[in-house]
């Protein structure tokens, strides 16, 4: 995936999460896969883009409050530790977007690539 498209997808996922919530990463990944059908699939890039979008949002959140304390508390509740909770938080959207991308590609594989997008 080209860097510009990757950046665009990342920004879209971050904006979607801000506007409507966590599930939008799956919806945007699915939409992206539908739009790019016929091209070489980039499921890993989509997943990476989702993780990066949430990483960016966490970065923004860190400017507004003590993110380290949050990770300490959350990492204790879901017992994965302080760093583990960051990993889980990034892995969750990555798996969500990646799987949505794979499923969409599989479902719409047979549609002609030159259908109106």
């Amino acid at each position: 995936m080209r860097p510009m498209r990757f950046a665009l997808l990342t920004v879209a996922m971050a904006a979607g999460t801000m506007a409507a919530g966590w599930w939008t990463v799956a919806a945007i990944a699915a939409g992206w896969s539908l739009l790019t059908r016929g091209e070489r699939a980039h499921h890993i890039s989509v997943a990476t883009s989702a993780a990066l979008s949430w990483a960016l949002l966490l970065g923004v959140m860190s400017l507004r409050g003590p993110l380290a304390r949050v990770s300490e508390v959350l990492g204790g509740i879901i017992p994965v530790g302080t760093l583990g909770i960051f990993a889980v938080t990034l892995l969750f959207p990555a798996l969500l977007a990646g799987s949505a991308s794979v499923v969409t590609s599989a479902l719409f594989r047979r549609l002609p690539a030159d259908l109106p997008r």
Binding site: M61, G76, F92
Partner: protein
């Protein structure tokens, strides 16, 4: 041989991949949106913008903010000081309560709803079926039923009703303004959202405090003990009058009086009677869900006041030190309410109520300890049908039972359990074996109005007498209200509705016959008869849950099984010895490391060594006790042995109180444990049959044999657990405060906090460490009131905030913060001002 088709293989692989991805996607969407067992909805939790991460942005107070509250008469200025305490400057009292409701909700919303639900029996609607049993118990007790009954009788125009409604308006204004990012963590973990706050919840809170502070099931437990050891021994082990007298109302003796008596030998009842008595376990559990006997609980509140004649600066001093079950967030929330010419009151508030039950204003300081009077009686009722009764007999006539159908529901409204609760005119009944037992309990009748009016007047009082006049109508839970004023007056009164029992009936410590109305309560004690003292000649007053009045001064029944007065004895000893008390001395006394009981018991262990046969463990134990300075300081290396020895002694002395219960119980359990004061009484009688060990039929043990065996066993146990005497025996490595979060999540709790203090000290630290000083306060009533205080926790209920538990280190060390008490909002500025919040009137 057919060659494999690579294309078909590739298609199969991609189909399998797609199916796997589809399964993963569905699974992630499911766990993202829905709670799965104990795992909260992950998507909603981990979302960086709307999930728990967003709570980082709510961790710190903004420098300035403004909001609207419907119903405000004019703008309200709230200044949060550097300890995050809101100083609310409002044009009217109702506006102050609205603003307080808003900040309570902002900082502690989940706690408020949880407390209300615990009373209403609707926890399962929030937390699911795991809390079903708690809900059933709450409904069986009838706390919400009682609160709703008294709330319905409230005149909507009364000051109390206006206060409750204004407070609710503030809470609901906050809930209405919440954004998704504001949702407290606990709701996210439970996948729930806050419910609107109902004014009746304030009455629920009052009922809840009644359960915590004024619940007693003594008659039921006493009947079990009587069946086991006979009436005379029961009366001695669980006496109506404490054998150590250091009453709240000074008796003029200036020292503790020991009224030791001989404890009669146990006289077991028939097996049939014992079996019937043990059936009461069911009633005990149904009425309050209380655990079976857990021994003497190391808990207790203290308060004391010193007259100007005995203070260094010549101003009255007051110490408030209420002890409760500890939790995070704390039960308390500090606040300062200011309404020009009307109210200028600072102290701790309870989440769910707009008033300040412990605090001070410009003239008076007030605090409370629990009285522990007997305000609940139990009656054996005669019903028309043993399983589905419809009526009960009273004075020879059948009376219809009030029937309450209670359905506990789950988060989606699904019914989890339905119970039928029967009431006589006295209160709810429970079925226990073949008997139906009802309970009359003042808390179910106690009006929230009187509590709010009482505290409302206290908050605005100008003197001790003014405060006591206002608080005289307070109905319960019974409290030893202590006050001091700038005029140099001090005073205490144990206040509540105390029943007058008929002379012919059971005294209050035994089950009564419910078929006769002659056994019902006949009225209430007049205030003039309450235990009380004002400006006593001794120059100080202290209470620590001990028997309030010396029975030689007033022999009327007021309660029984009073806590051992070790704390009261220690406070009084400290105050007698100090004729120039300072605020700092008051602070030090709150965590004083000595306990009066150590002298009695440690001396007894040491004396038992005389002429004893050699036993290495006992000799080692004696050597340790000889080295002991009798304190429970953090670095003490002998206190842990003393505590173990006392535990062993208790177990051995009261072995006759153990029974083998249900087949599921693998070992005998004690039905009840006499408190340590009674054990001290037994020490006075070396040959008493209670010293004999039932499990050694061929030997008759005496006191010293049991003391020696206890100390030797304690030494062996301690060595086995901790190794040889040394640093591992340090008190701070073995006894801790454990402060659990309301949901008992370890990550949100603060556990294993080393503390000074042990059994019987003013700040007891023993057992499981879940009880302790919930608020410590010292007030000096000089020309300008000065105050110091702290509590174990922090103002914020947000675990992500530094304000969640920022006071714990201070609290654990026994230090107090200086409490800021500004006259005007402008006085808080610079480093002392953390945040400014402005409320303006909003549309309803």
């Amino acid at each position: 041989m057919q060659r494999p088709n690579p294309r078909r293989g590739s298609t199969t692989t991609s189909t399998a991949t797609a199916l796997l991805a589809g399964g993963l996607l569905l699974g992630l969407l499911w766990v993202g949106a829905r709670a799965t067992g104990p795992i909260p909805p992950l998507g909603r939790l981990l979302d960086p913008v709307h999930g728990a991460w967003a709570l980082a942005a709510r961790a710190n107070l903004p420098a300035t903010e403004s909001h609207t509250i419907p119903g405000l008469s004019a703008a309200v200025d709230v200044r949060f000081d550097d300890r995050s305490v809101p100083h609310i400057f409002a044009p009217t009292v109702a506006d102050a309560y609205r603003a307080l409701g808003w900040v309570h909700a902002r900082d502690r919303l989940f706690q408020m709803e949880l407390q209300a639900r615990a009373v209403a029996g609707t926890l399962a609607e929030l937390a699911g079926p795991r809390t079903k049993a708690l809900d059933r118990e709450a409904r069986a007790i009838g706390l919400a039923w009682g609160a709703e009954k008294t709330f319905a009788a409230l005149n909507p125009q009364s000051p109390a009703a206006r206060a409750i409604n204004a407070y609710a308006e503030g809470v609901n204004a906050y809930i209405a303004q919440m954004s998704p990012g504001d949702l407290p963590l606990e709701y996210r973990l439970l996948g729930a959202t806050p419910q609107p706050w109902k004014p009746v919840y304030t009455a629920y809170l009052q009922a809840r405090m009644g359960l915590t502070l004024a619940y007693s099931d003594g008659e039921l437990r006493r009947e079990q003990v009587q069946a086991l050891i006979g009436k005379a021994a029961t009366a001695a082990l669980f006496p109506v009058d404490a054998p150590l007298q250091e009453p709240i109302q000074p008796n003029g003796q200036h020292t503790t009086r020991a009224d030791w008596q001989r404890i009669p030998a146990p006289q077991p009842a028939s097996a049939e009677k014992l079996a019937q008595a043990l059936e009461l376990d069911g009633a005990i559990a149904k009425f309050a869900g209380l655990p079976r006997d857990a021994g003497e609980i190391a808990v207790g509140s203290n308060n004391w006041a010193v007259a100007p004649s005995r203070t260094a600066a010549g101003h009255a001093l007051l110490s408030g030190d209420p002890h409760l079950a500890l939790s995070l967030p704390s039960i308390w929330y500090e606040a300062h309410l200011v309404v020009p010419d009307t109210l200028d009151s600072y102290g701790v508030t309870l989440l769910g109520s707009p008033l300040i039950p412990i605090g001070f204003n410009r003239n008076v300081a007030w605090t409370a300890t629990n009285t522990g009077a007997d305000v609940a009686d139990y009656y054996v009722e005669t019903v028309d049908n043993a399983t589905h009764p419809t009526s009960y007999t009273l004075d020879g006539a059948w009376k219809p039972l009030l029937v309450r159908i209670e359905t506990v529901r789950g988060p989606h409204g699904e019914p989890l359990a339905t119970d039928t609760i029967y009431h006589t005119h006295r209160g709810p009944m429970v079925h226990s074996g073949a008997r139906w037992i009802s309970r009359r309990w003042t808390i179910l009748d106690a009006s929230v109005v009187t509590a709010l009016s009482a505290f409302g007047q206290a908050n605005q009082a100008a003197s001790v007498s003014d405060l006591m006049r206002g608080i005289a109508t307070y109905e319960g839970p019974a409290q030893n209200f202590l006050a001091a004023d700038r005029g140099g007056h001090i005073g205490i009164r144990s206040t509540a509705k105390y029943p007058i029992r008929p002379a012919t009936a059971a005294r209050g410590d035994a089950l009564a016959d419910g078929s006769s109305s002659a056994n019902d309560w006949q009225g209430w004690w007049p205030v003039s008869d309450f235990p009380q003292s004002f400006d006593p000649a001794q120059g100080y007053i202290a209470s620590a849950n001990q028997q309030p009045k010396d029975p030689k001064v007033d022999g009327r029944y007021f309660g029984w099984d009073w806590p051992a007065p070790w704390r009261a004895m220690r406070i009084n000893a400290l105050l007698r010895a100090d004729s120039a008390v300072t605020p700092d001395a008051m602070r030090r006394y709150q965590t004083d490391p000595r306990s009066e009981q150590t002298n009695i018991f440690a001396d007894a262990f040491l004396a038992s060594a005389a002429g004893s046969p050699a036993n290495p463990s006992f000799e080692q134990g004696i050597r340790q006790l000889q080295k002991w300075d009798r304190t429970f300081t953090k670095d003490n290396e002998q206190a842990v042995l003393f505590e173990a020895a006392l535990d062993e002694l208790t177990r051995r002395a009261w072995d006759e109180l153990s029974v083998t219960g249900a087949p599921s119980e693998d070992r005998p359990r004690r039905v009840a444990t006499p408190n340590s004061m009674i054990l001290a009484e037994l020490l006075q009688d070396p040959k008493n049959p209670w010293w004999d060990n039932r499990s050694t039929p061929t030997v008759v043990e005496d006191r010293d044999m049991i003391l020696r065996a206890s100390l030797a066993a304690a030494y062996d146990r301690t060595v086995k657990t901790l190794g040889n005497p040394g640093p591992a025996w340090r008190w701070d490595r073995n006894r801790f405060a454990n402060i659990y979060h309301l949901l008992r999540l370890p990550a949100l709790s603060r556990l294993r906090i080393p503390m000074q203090g042990g059994p019987g000290t003013l700040s007891p630290s023993a057992g499981d460490g879940t009880h302790g000083a919930s608020w410590r306060m010292v007030v000096e009533l000089g020309p300008e009131v000065r105050a110091w205080g702290t509590y174990p926790g922090g103002q914020s209920g947000n675990p992500m905030s530094a304000r969640y538990a920022d006071r714990l280190p201070q609290w654990a060390s026994g230090a107090l913060d200086t409490l800021r008490f500004p006259h005007t909002a402008a006085e808080l500025r610079g480093a002392t001002l953390r945040s400014t919040l402005t409320f303006t009137p909003g549309a309803r």
